[in-house]
């Protein structure tokens, strides 16, 4: 590649690699959070590139709510093995013992216990002082205002009014014992960038992103996949086989599918280019209340 007229994807890749290297160099005990989604897959790929020919000098961690799609778990284990990452899987055992689930406890409380609390437990348990996340600023309004190096108190809280100014590509990585930093190396990528990069670099992704016949039920206008027998069917509800795929992946009862016949990457990108709804509209937790993401982040959510 000629050094002049760099494409936007190359510039984004270089910026992300710079960020990832900065964290590996300056933190005592960093970890990369792996959500198994497409953004995470891109982040992992960038981490592998950043340290080539050495392997990435930090482990991967997946916070498992036990409500992930089965295909995601399979893909997670294969990917960690393929890239040579040390994989840590953490589940909130207290929440599990109390059988906290999205149906009986509501998506908000469930998310709080099985994701936010679980994440905080894991960070504390392993003493991680920096955690990479695959969030992007174009996803949601409060994310647009978050720094790439997002400082968290010893209680893992985020204070949007006390963010550190972030200038040039010089990142302040200093934290006191107990405090930590969440780092978002793909902050400046958009959904379209992610897909174009996946195509360009041939990055494996969970097959759920591709259209296939899958059993779903329709609830409140959203298509919910019946991934296992734990999904309580409402009276009269019968799972139907529909040609669907997912634009975003989370816990299966909280992530809606879309009807689609896009079974290849170019078809997915085309579908996205003509799409009229944003990807997070398939995320049920964002709709709970206005400013809900900001609230969750203050409490320690990614």
């Amino acid at each position: 590649m000629s050094p002049d007229r760099k494409s936007h994807l190359k510039r984004l890749e270089d910026e992300s690699i710079h960020i990832i290297r900065e964290v590996a160099s300056e933190f005592r005990n960093p970890v990369m959070l792996y959500s198994i989604g497409k953004d995470s897959s891109v982040m992992l790929h960038l981490a592998a590139k950043a340290f080539y020919p050495a392997p990435p000098p930090f482990p991967l961690m997946h916070v498992d709510t036990t409500w992930k799609f089965r295909e995601m778990i399979r893909f997670r284990d294969e990917t960690a093995k393929r890239l040579g990452f040390n994989l840590i899987v953490h589940t909130n055992q207290d929440g599990l013992a109390q059988n906290i689930n999205p149906f009986d406890h509501g998506s908000s409380y469930y998310t709080n216990v099985m994701k936010t609390d679980a994440l905080k437990q894991a960070l504390t348990k392993y003493g991680f002082d920096a955690a990479f996340g695959g969030a992007r600023r174009d996803e949601e309004k409060s994310r647009a205002k978050e720094r790439i190096f997002s400082f968290r108190t010893a209680n893992h809280g985020w204070d949007p009014k006390k963010q550190r100014p972030e200038l040039w590509n010089i990142y302040n990585t200093r934290v006191a014992p107990g405090e930590s930093i969440r780092v978002f190396p793909i902050s400046n990528w958009t959904e379209l960038d992610i897909w174009q990069y996946i195509m360009l670099e041939d990055i494996p992704i969970v097959p759920l992103y591709y259209a296939a016949m899958r059993p779903v039920v329709e609830r409140g206008g959203q298509l919910i996949m019946v991934d296992d027998e734990r999904l309580p069917l409402e009276p009269g509800e019968v799972p139907q086989e529909r040609l669907v795929r997912f634009r975003t992946l989370g816990c299966y009862p909280l992530t809606a599918a879309i009807e689609s016949d896009a079974a290849t990457l170019p078809e997915i990108v085309r579908e996205m280019l003509v799409a009229r709804t944003s990807e997070r509209s398939g995320r049920l937790i964002d709709h709970d209340e206005a400013g809900s993401m900001e609230k969750k982040k203050r409490e320690g959510y990614f």
Partner: protein, 634 residues
């Protein structure tokens, strides 16, 4: 974009996507005063480039009814004011980054607030931007805030500026109002180092000249805002600069491989190039440029790479690798512009951490040279620095670091300041030049140079450049100042028409070209005298800004003190000590400044003397006080 993609065949789609992959990226920031319509403009760009999805539009319509300020219309500002507190108060309190894309370019927008207390946010947004859009409310014209934003943009090294004259609909699409704002801006921004200033009349609310050319401004022939953003050449100047790369990470997977990973800050590098480790001076040759996509023949500014070298030399994180043929300054002391970003004041003498490139060292401010009033650009004396204040400071570091002047290289001239206790980022710095003191071990103690000569005289060499109309009192005041300095045991010299025009410059007349040459010679002589360690008093009309700037640039920052003897023409003419005005009025002298030749008053003199009204003794004391505050005399 969406319609285009919809009608493509699979083959065409792949070609279309390939083209999309090769788009370039433009980073810009928007700034303006409260209510200038920044957020509305960004919302408009997102809306008109069809980057809004149905569910976001539905949310926007719902929010517009609840919080909106534009009646039944969609309030685009609500799109970008992300935090709850902002939506409630209708203001933007933090930098937000937005993204949109067209078929030609991808854009990253830093939306920065206009409130005074948030100067730091604007500096933050500007630090990564290639271009700044300064919003001006057509009804209000250029305000203090506009000047402040332009100054900060210039301080942060932004070279391309768009003056978006917004709300043009509210002034009946007036060409006169637009042109006045355009010209006012060009006038005051003249010395800001902007490479290009483009003014565009627009209405963010109604979309005039944002994307589509407006029929209501037929007199406007320039580009629409989006046209300009899509086509502006932000040629990567970093590539043309000398090679620099700060080492982030030493890559050592096994005993056979030792690579140095980092992002190239400037220039290009090829295998075989000689490089130097800036601080240690050790040299080697680049063996390979390693990336996960294979070795490269050449890599350039912005590329994240791993270099291997031909020799085993000691290199660790924080080292700056540089071209052997063009090396940066290495010093443990430098002068820098500082923007303070924290409620706790900057205090000289307090130890802070400075992170420059990938190296973090302890540092202290040894002296605040002066604060800069961001509204008037006046220089003010200061003992400490508060939130959002800007100053020129001298720094002393615990160890030497390699750097370039920020104006020469944005990547290697920038640093952040971190509080050692709270770990907060408390300031941002832009290096001006290194300071070499007699104590600096890199200098041989016996070198006879400017510092040694000045030390011997126990003084700091400066030029006091008195400018003003004939009869403004320049020589009279300069004489009093020189007498005072002499009495203090200082070594001085005075250059004026009497001793220069009769000898050195006797071949020169009073045409414009001769006057320029006259000042050039005076400036060069002054520079030699500075080198000799003298305090030089120059008393010349020196009517043109360009020559005074040339004189200023000949010497180091801080060595040139422009003293503007500001006497109105009528008063100077009534004094007419040598009867020259009378002759000029009678047509006996041609090209006489103030009569038939212009005088360009200084825009930012170090000191302005009201020499039309105050007594010369009082004015001389003002000059002496300034010398004291700058540490020239005790």
């Amino acid at each position: 974009m969406s319609e285009a993609a919809e009608n493509l065949s699979a083959q065409d789609l792949i070609a279309y996507l390939a083209q999309q992959e090769n788009k370039t990226l433009l980073r810009f920031l928007t700034c303006g005063s409260v209510d200038d319509g920044k957020s509305t403009l960004i919302g408009r760009l997102l809306y008109d480039t069809k980057l809004l999805f149905d569910d976001q539009l539905a949310t926007l319509e719902r929010d517009s009814k609840k919080h909106g300020t534009v009646g039944e219309d969609i309030d685009f500002a609500l799109l970008v004011d992300g935090l709850e507190a902002e939506r409630e108060q209708g203001i933007t309190i933090d930098v937000a980054y937005r993204f949109f894309t067209t078929d030609k370019r991808k854009f990253i927008v830093a939306d920065t607030p206009g409130h005074e207390q948030y100067t730091r946010n604007m500096a933050t947004g500007a630090s990564t931007a290639d271009l700044a859009i300064l919003l001006v409310d057509a009804r209000k014209g250029i305000l203090t805030q506009t000047r402040r934003h332009a100054f900060i943009a210039s301080l942060l090294g932004i070279r391309h500026v768009v003056v978006a004259v917004n709300k043009i609909d509210l002034v009946d699409y007036s060409q006169d109002i637009f042109e006045k704002i355009r010209d006012d801006f060009a006038e005051f921004a003249r010395n800001f180092g902007f490479k290009q200033i483009v003014a565009i009349p627009l209405s963010a609310r109604f979309g005039d000249n944002v994307i589509a050319r407006s029929e209501r401004t037929p007199w406007y022939k320039g580009p629409t805002l989006l046209d300009h953003l899509e086509t502006v050449e932000v040629e990567d100047e970093q590539l043309a600069k000398p090679f620099r790369m700060a080492v982030q990470w030493v890559n050592r997977p096994n005993l056979d491989f030792r690579g140095f990973s980092g992002t190239i800050a400037s220039g290009t590098v090829r295998p075989g190039d000689r490089i130097v480790v800036a601080a240690s001076g050790r040299t080697s040759t680049v063996a390979r440029i390693v990336t996960a996509d294979g070795d490269l023949d050449v890599a350039g500014a912005g590329d994240a790479v791993t270099l291997t070298l031909a020799d085993e030399i000691d290199i660790s994180r924080g080292d700056l690798l540089v071209a052997a043929t063009d090396q940066p300054e290495v010093a443990d002391q430098f002068a820098a512009h500082v923007i303070w970003m924290h409620e706790d004041h900057l205090l000289p003498g307090r130890p802070y951490l400075v992170k420059i490139g990938t190296r973090t060292v302890t540092a202290q401010v040894t002296e605040i040279k002066h604060k800069i009033d961001v509204n008037t650009l006046d220089h003010l004396a200061a003992k400490e620095l508060g939130l959002n204040e800007v100053a020129v400071c001298n720094f002393s570091l615990s160890q030497p670091v390699g750097f370039d002047a920020y104006t020469a290289n944005r990547e290697t001239g920038a640093f952040i300041i971190i509080d050692r206790l709270s770990n907060a980022t408390v300031g941002a710095g832009m290096i001006m030049f290194g300071l070499r003191r007699a104590t600096n071990i890199h200098l041989q103690a016996l070198d006879v140079n400017k510092a040694a000569r000045a030390n011997l005289k126990g003084q700091k060499p400066v030029i006091l450049w008195f400018t003003g109309l004939s009869g403004a009192g320049k020589s009279t005041i300069a004489n009093i100042v020189e007498k005072y300095l002499l009495a203090q045991g200082r070594h001085t010299y005075m250059l004026d028409g009497d001793n220069v025009r009769h000898g050195l410059n006797r071949d020169l007349g009073f045409t414009e070209a001769d006057r320029v040459e006259n000042i050039r010679r005076v400036a060069e002589v002054s520079k030699l005298m500075i080198d000799a360690g003298l305090i030089v008093l120059v008393s010349f009309i020196s009517p043109f800004r360009a020559e005074r700037r040339m004189a200023r640039e000949l010497v180091e920052e801080g060595e040139f003190i422009e003293v503007f003897c500001d006497t109105p023409l009528a008063i100077a003419e009534s004094r007419d000590p040598k009867g020259l005005y009378k002759k000029a009025r009678a047509g006996q002298i041609k090209n006489f400044t103030g009569i038939d030749s212009p005088y360009e008053p200084p825009e930012n003199p170090e000191i302005r003397l009201e020499s039309g009204t105050k007594s010369v003794e009082l004015l001389a004391e003002e000059v002496i006080a300034l010398l004291r505050s700058r540490g020239v005399i005790v």
